[in-house]
């Protein structure tokens, strides 16, 4: 799967319930391996997911998943998607393996392969030993894993996960996150992860879409952002000739700024490495007590997006626009 393929394209996508607009002319293209969908309650995250799945018809505009229109090619779109809903969802009085097998068959997998895939999916998510128990008897964490198994059993190209770590205890959460990362790194499926937990998104996603009041408040590539942040370094120094040390760093071609008595901020060049800084510090008898990469955390990005009072006025925030992905303006 080519890395730069558009996973989801939004084209003036609007959804209205009754007279209440929920999604307001969304535009943009999402390309990440794992896309985080963030936003406060009522921002339209779940509605966007449901619209992509064809549960709600768009009022105007459209969206495409892997180039297929969600309105005109709904079945093809859904065939390439695996969906893990937020709420408890299962088929009662059915063993987990039969439940996952049924879901595989409904996705088009022939009966003879569906059972095999169901077993594999359940072992993959860690429910192998409990697969013959009815899903009703599962704990919350196990039900979440069963939902993940049914979402991946048919090997979809896009897996939509709606709050996958909701209500999970720390070990189960960490297992869920590790599974998501494993799928992401495998490269055979893209992931759209909707979560309230910024930490989950930060751990799993390389691109985020922040929604606010039905608008796109931010769309940023976390991977690019992380790369960009690696250039900004803050040093805390003691002793020696701090000024000479700073000038020698400047001589390497890096911009620098002295702040306070001990702080030194440096913008690194591609050719300069951290060990060069240590070498210069040694030469100028300066002790480097602390070295911090400036990190524009997801929380900061999210808060910036939330501060933007009215993203509808074309003030759409786009952070870390490393691969020209600030193209959802015009909102």
């Amino acid at each position: 799967m080519a890395e730069m393929t558009n996973v989801i394209e939004l084209e003036h996508l609007s959804v209205t319930f009754g007279k209440r607009p929920i999604l307001k002319s969304l535009d943009g293209a999402l390309k990440g391996r794992a896309i985080g969908l963030l936003g406060p309650n009522g921002a339209g995250k779940t509605t966007l997911i449901h619209t992509l799945l064809g549960f709600h018809p768009p009022t105007s505009g459209t969206a495409r998943i892997f180039g297929q229109d969600i309105a005109t090619e709904a079945k093809k779109v859904r065939a390439s998607i695996g969906y893990m809903p937020e709420r408890d969802a299962f088929i009662a009085k059915m063993s987990c393996v039969n439940f996952v097998r049924l879901m595989a068959e409904l996705s088009g997998i022939p009966a003879r392969h569906a059972l095999e895939r169901a077993h594999e999916a359940l072992f993959y998510v860690g429910l192998g030993e409990a697969r013959y128990r009815p899903v009703d008897s599962y704990s919350l964490g196990m039900k979440q894993l069963a939902k993940l198994a049914q979402a991946i059993v048919h090997g979809p190209k896009l897996i939509i996960l709606d709050e996958p770590t909701n209500g999970l205890d720390p070990p189960t959460r960490s297992r869920m996150i590790s599974l998501i990362r494993q799928i992401r790194d495998g490269g055979r499926a893209r992931i759209l992860l909707s979560s309230h937990l910024l930490r989950d998104v930060e751990e799993c996603c390389d691109e985020i879409l922040v929604l606010k009041d039905g608008y796109i408040a931010a769309n940023c590539n976390l991977e690019e952002e992380r790369k960009a942040n690696r250039k900004f370094i803050e040093l805390e120094t003691r002793g020696g000739d701090r000024k000479a040390f700073a000038e020698s760093i400047g001589a390497l071609g890096c911009d620098y700024a002295l702040s306070g008595e001990r702080r030194l901020k440096v913008i690194m060049q591609e050719t300069v490495e951290i060990k060069d800084l240590y070498r210069l510090a040694f030469e100028h008898e300066v002790q480097i007590r602390r070295l911090n990469f400036k990190r524009d955390s997801l929380e900061e990005i999210f808060l910036k997006a939330m501060e933007n009072e009215n993203p509808a006025n074309g003030e759409n925030i786009s952070v870390g626009n490393g691969n020209g992905r600030a193209d959802n303006g015009g909102l």
Partner: protein, 305 residues
């Protein structure tokens, strides 16, 4: 995604055709149905009358057996349109009880466990989902209604000879179509109830109520106003009229009653059944309302505008 490898992989094989995908639903549902001893017992009971009917047909054509049993079944029960209409009525009643046991959890269980998004996020439309659920009822009811009905018809034809078959060929249509209308009505009605009531017992009660309360009310109206127009309120009465119509036994002049007129003289009133088209209209309207209710209720998520 092999078990030992624990790796995620896409399915590379050939998928089965999209049109037949909804048939997966009844396959799994039937497996669940036959796990219940009560349902299996009821299902077996549904074959008692067809067996009795088959024995009657056999006796009808077997003089030796008749003489041994010292019976004159030929005079008591002729194998004609009335025989098969009675078959429809009795099997219709059995199939109704079977529906009350099978249908209520079909959609309600999915609704109460939020399973609808799991079905509908796959390449399966809402119509296909309902058709899949309907297929469970249609299959089971077919097995106890028109299938044994036609088997008995052909058994009778084999015994009665070509002349009987030729003269009664139209009954094949009447048996099949009469039961089909009944099955469609039962399946749509029970699925609509199942989509609205989340609890199985309540759904079963509601289904019984929908048949018996209007029927009782129809009897009250008929008694009070000395009419048969009240029958239009009863789905069972309307279906009976349709079946009689299909077997050429429908007579609008249902009965005559004696009543005291305005000048205190006894007069004879002719009780008229509602016209046949009105019964068809009632059944069609009930089906249309059920389809509308299913359209409203069978959704992945309910939207409050």
């Amino acid at each position: 995604m092999a078990v030992y490898e624990h790796l995620y992989s896409a399915f590379e094989g050939e998928k089965h055709s999209a049109w037949s995908r909804f048939l997966v639903i009844p396959r799994y549902a039937l497996r669940e149905v036959f796990k219940s001893k009560l349902l299996v017992t009821m299902f077996i009971l549904c074959f008692i009358y067809p067996l009795v009917a088959a024995i009657l047909v056999y006796l009808h054509h077997n003089a030796n057996a008749l003489s041994m049993l010292q019976l004159n079944v030929r005079e008591l029960l002729p194998i004609d349109a009335s025989f098969f209409r009675t078959f429809l009525e009795i099997q219709g009643a059995f199939s109704f009880i079977l529906t009350v046991l099978i249908a209520p959890p079909l959609i309600s269980r999915d609704l109460s466990n939020n399973a609808l998004p799991l079905y509908l996020c796959r390449p399966l439309s809402r119509t296909e989902y309902v058709l899949g659920k309907m297929a469970v009822i249609v299959f089971l009811l077919s097995v106890v209604t028109w299938v044994p009905g036609l088997l008995i018809f052909f058994f009778q034809a084999s015994q009665g000879g070509f002349d009987w078959l030729w003269a009664n060929l139209w009954m094949i249509w009447a048996i099949f179509f009469g039961f089909t209308v009944w099955i469609i009505l039962l399946s749509l009605l029970s699925l609509a109830v199942s989509a609205f009531v989340k609890w199985r017992v309540v759904a079963s009660g509601a289904l019984l109520g929908l048949f018996f309360i209007p029927s009782a009310f129809a009897q009250i109206v008929n008694g009070l106003f000395i009419t048969h127009a009240g029958n239009l309120m009863s789905m069972w009465a309307s279906m009976n009229s349709i079946w009689r119509g299909l077997f050429g036994l429908f007579d609008r002049q249902a009965a005559t009653v004696r009543a005291r007129g305005a000048n205190r003289q006894m007069i004879e009133l002719v009780m008229m059944e509602p016209p046949l088209w009105a019964s068809w209209l009632v059944i069609a309207l009930v089906c249309a309302v059920c389809v509308w209710l299913l359209t409203r209720k069978v959704r992945a998520y309910e939207v409050i505008g």
